[in-house]
Each structure stands twice: as structure tokens, then as C-alpha cells.
Symmetry: C2
Subunit: 338 residues, 2 copies
């Protein structure tokens, strides 16, 4: 049982080479400092675990600066304002989401935090389908992929937090949708529960044969969350004017040597296709509109959503590693409020 | 001295593994057949030698079907109509350009042939700056690259038939333009003669250092003709929303094993950039408009153009190989009319 005046924090201690290990983070306890004017104390309830976090602990600057050594590990979170000092932008009792980090409490003036409505959706949804992964899926398939009715859409990481939503939105838009996932359980989930038109089990099937079987005329959109061999195989099947959305490359994030480039990239030339990268933060001004639409689809039963929730801030690392072992279903979340 | 009734033809005999060798083509002589109604006999003067031709002799279908074994090698050409039979679309004395192939005479009904005006430009220009390479440069930088004033543009194969024109058009459009080329002569040519703002000699300089020196704030457009390590290095320097135009990959066309994929492709993600393939044939309906503009720029002295002309159909293979050895300057052409 943790002390009410004590903050438990996962601190970055050492940049990993490959998968994060026991030396990467350290769980420490610090006393909660007094609030200054304008500051709020947030009791954090859920932490979002996302593949992108692996990139943030590399030395190199990516689309945001790296987490520094001895800093609290960066993470999206949801929690409740339990104390304020002076004039603050939220009130005690408000639920908020933001970059709370991997810690049980967070003190902030509220920059980049947003109030959420737990009457409309469960709190944890705001770091999932109504948070970054959901927004990524929404803008990725609609704006970057420029999806249109009748498109053949292939999604990798199809049972994951982003891929599962990408596929369902493409179905809503009238596409033929196929997913690539690891294992029978995930493949059944995306076809039986999410309504994908077909699934390719990359752990037990030949990828190229699988894509050929499901998409004999090729694909109009390939939404990539994984990179590596799967990206390479998908490129073979591009149709004329196809769009490849580069959303992530989970297979490469822990690479210790050079990462693998897509050998079949000349398919872009032959097929006048494009490969486009995206960072969801660019769409922040349009989040409210997207959240409204997504919430409506959930209400209408058109969007199904699965969370895989683990508990305990002390289990952060081993839970995080499930992202890369594939040992989770849907959105991976760490519950840190006891 | 060839017989007036005899056609010399380079015939594809064996698909090469790697660089074409002595067994790839065979030079044969055939009797010219009688013309049927609507047919024209074209005496060919110049053959265009382009890197893309290497792709056409692979087994696999690319954006056009492969050249079949025992067929005349496909090539763009210019020549003169010297005989017609019945009602034909061109007249005796007309100069035309089209897919005449590597042969001294060509019999055609004129599908995909265009009449050219030798008063406006030298005949050979119609397979160069006013032909496929020129059109590729024009639509590649303007429509695929979406060039705009102030962009920092990097071009590989910068002294070549396409790259040299891409860079000059970007200069006309008010960009900072840098080129990558092999050797001091080519580098001097693109800066001193073509007005590029700088050159990187990939044979004698460290690529990454060179790009960093010339483009310290990164690049908005990378126009790629070569692939491989050069593409990979350029990707490191993409600015936000940068465009990579995949026009060719001359470094990879003769690869005997897997081609090299761009290891740094995740720069597309981090920088919300795009990589887009192009095939010039898609722009055929707009060629006349582009040719008019290019001819005007040539006239105004804004576009400089260099041809490297070799002679003799019997020298086809060794001349063609200069494309890959880099041993030529500007547009490579084979003169086949004695």
C-alpha cells in the first residue's frame, strides 16, 4: 500500500540496446512536492502502453525529443484532479488525459491535458480508441490513406490498438478489409468480432501466399504498423495508385543493428504508388471532431474495441514488453491506481 | 555498308543475370518485308538508351510487358518516313518519334508514333529533352514532387538525362538545388554549366557529410534516379512534409540478388514525408504542353542540354553499358543511320 504523500515513478536510467531490460528503468518513490499557484495534482488511473514509447528512449530526436536519463518515463495517461492551488484550468474531481508519464501522481498546470467525460465513455477509452491510437487510426486511414468506397485495404498489426480500428473504419467506408495478425486467436477475433473480410496469420502462414489468396487483384491501401518482412510482402501487391501508410514499424523498434529497408520499394515506381508517413500529433486541432465521430460509431455498435489491462506500476516493463512479444490483445493498458 | 533492303536488328536472345553480356542480344540482318496497306517504312536515325531498358528485359512484368526472347529490343527512336503504302498517318519525308526499337528500319502503322518538327529543335532532342527523359523530369519535379519556390531540392544522377533537367527546372522555379553525381567533371558541369547551387561527388566524397554541408536545414524534395546507398543517405535529411520522387534506381537494376531497400524509410514517418513512384507514360496526354514549355526554356537559354552520342547499331550493348558504368555525360544516344 503506497503512502498518500508519495509518488511512485518509473525513471529512465539507461538507454537500451534492443529490448528494454532490468537496467532501463528504475521504480523510485519521491515525496509529493507542494503545489504552486496554478498547479494541479492528478491521481493517475491508467497509463497507455504504445510501441512509439520505444522510440522515445533512444538518444536520437524523433518527432519529439527523447526522454532524458533520470526523467520520468513519458506516457499518455488518464486520471483525476484531486487537488489544486490558486486559479487552475481544471477543478478538483475533473477527469483529464494528457502526458502524465509513468507515475502514480502527476503535478501539472494542464498544458496538453484535456478534460474527458466519463459519462460518455469509460475513462480508459480516452487513452485508447478515443485517444492517440484511435486518432491515429482515424486520421491515418481517412486522411493519409485517403480511403474510398470499394478499396481493398490490408492492415498489419490488425488486432492491435490502431490496426483493429483502422480496419473497422475501412469497413464502415465500404472497403474490402484484410488483416495480418499473429496467431489463430487474433485472426479469429478480427474476422469474427471485428468484421474483417479475411485474416492472414503471419506466424503460421506464408505471408505472400496469404495476401495473394485474399487479395488476388492487389491492394489499394496498405496500412503498416510493423515494417520488416510484412511491409516488404505487402509492397508486392500494390495496385496502381496505391497508398501505403507508414504508421509504425514495431518489428524494427528494438533492432540492434541497422533496420531492414523495404526491398520491394520499387513497386511504388511500377505502380505509381505512394508511401507516406504520419504522426498523429499533427491532427490535434481536429481531435474533437474525430472523437465525436468515433464515440458515435461505438454507440451505434459499428466500432468494437478491446482492452488488455494489466495492473501495477511495478509491472510497467514486463507489461510494456508484451507489445513486442505480441502477447496481448487490443489496446495495452496499465492500471496504476490501486 | 548495309544493304538498302536489309534491316539490322538487335534481338533479345537471353535474359541477363546482372549486367547484359555478349549472349544477351544478337545483331541479325533480315530482309525488309513489303509494306501492307497503311504501313510506313521508317529509316531510323537515333536510338535512345535509357536505364529503364534494363528492366524491360527481365522476365517479370513491370509497368509494361517484358521484351520477349527473339523480339527486337525495345527502344525509343527518331527517324524519317521513307516509304508508305496506301493511306498512312504520316507522309514520306516526315520525321517521327516512337518505339522504333534497336533496328535500322522500322515498319509501323504509326501507333504511338508522333511527328516532330526539326525546325524547332534538332532531331535527337525528341528522344531526349523533348522526349521521355525530358518529360520525366518535367512531370516528376512539377507534378510528383510538387515543387514550389524556396524548396531545397536534391537530385541524384544529376548529370544524367533526367537529373540534369530536373535540377534546372527546379532552379527556374526558384529553388535551392543540389546534385549528386560521380566524378569531378560531372560535378563541375552541373554547378558551372547548369547552375546547380552545389554538387556532391559520391565517388570521392562522404555522401552524408556532403549533403549535410550543402543542405544543413534538410531537403524538401529528393528526386531519386539511383536508389541504394544514395537514397538511404538522402532520407536522413528529409524536412517535414518532404517529397521523395522515385523515378529510377539505376544502382539496383543489375542486382543479381535481392535489391537493397531504403533502411532509413522511417524518416518518412518522423517527418510526415512521402515517397512516390512515377511512370512518365501516365502523362502522355500532357506531353504537348510540356514540350512547348521546355522548347521555350531552351530558346530562352534557361535549359541547357547535353548529349553523348555514339555510333553504330553493332555498338549497342557496349554503349548501353555506359549507363551503368557512369561513363557518359548527359543523354546517351546511339546514332544508327550511317
Amino acid at each position: 500500500m503506497k503512502n498518500k504523500n508519495c509518488n511512485q515513478q518509473q525513471i529512465l536510467k539507461k538507454r537500451p540496446n534492443g529490448l528494454p531490460d532490468k537496467n532501463t528503468w528504475e521504480l523510485i518513490e519521491t515525496d509529493l512536492k507542494e503545489l504552486s499557484d496554478g498547479e494541479m495534482l492528478i491521481e493517475q488511473e491508467y497509463i497507455s502502453l504504445d510501441p512509439a514509447m520505444r522510440g522515445w528512449i533512444n538518444q536520437t530526436r524523433s518527432y519529439i525529443p527523447p526522454v532524458e536519463i533520470d526523467d520520468v518515463m513519458r506516457a499518455g495517461s488518464v486520471g483525476k484532479v484531486i487537488k489544486t492551488e490558486g486559479k487552475t484550468i481544471f477543478n478538483v474531481g475533473d477527469y483529464v488525459t494528457g502526458w502524465g508519464g509513468v507515475q502514480t501522481y502527476c503535478i501539472t498546470k494542464g498544458e496538453n491535458f484535456y478534460k474527458v467525460d466519463i459519462q460518455k465513455a469509460p475513462l480508459s477509452y480516452y487513452i485508447g480508441i478515443l485517444g492517440m491510437p484511435g486518432m491515429t487510426a482515424y486520421f491515418g486511414i481517412l486522411e493519409v490513406g485517403e480511403v474510398k468506397q470499394g478499396d481493398v485495404v490490408l492492415v498489419s498489426g490488425a488486432a492491435g490498438a490502431v490496426g483493429s480500428v483502422v480496419g473497422q473504419i475501412a469497413k464502415i467506408k465500404g472497403c474490402k478489409v484484410f488483416g495480418i495478425a499473429g496467431g489463430k486467436t487474433k485472426c479469429n477475433y478480427i474476422t469474427d468480432k471485428l468484421g474483417f473480410d479475411g485474416a492472414i496469420d503471419y506466424k503460421n502462414e506464408n505471408l505472400i501466399e496469404g495476401i495473394k489468396k485474399h487479395c488476388p487483384k492487389g491492394i489499394d491501401i496498405y496500412f503498416d504498423n510493423v515494417g520488416g518482412e510484412i511491409l516488404d510482402s505487402a509492397l508486392i501487391f500494390l495496385r496502381k495508385k496505391a497508398r501505403v501508410v507508414i504508421c509504425g514499424a514495431i518489428s524494427q523498434y528494438n533492432a540492434v543493428s541497422n533496420i531492414e529497408g523495404p526491398k520491394n520499394y520499387l513497386s511504388l515506381l511500377v505502380n505509381r504508388a505512394s508511401m507516406k508517413g504520419m504522426v498523429v500529433l499533427d491532427y490535434a486541432p481536429k481531435y474533437p471532431e474525430a472523437m465525436k465521430q468515433m464515440a458515435l460509431w461505438i454507440l451505434e455498435g459499428k466500432l468494437s474495441y478491446k482492452q488488455d489491462v494489466y495492473s501495477g506500476i511495478e509491472n510497467f516493463r514486463e507489461t510494456f514488453l508484451r507489445l513486442f512479444s505480441g502477447d496481448k490483445m487490443g489496446k495495452l493498458i496499465l492500471k496504476i491506481k490501486e
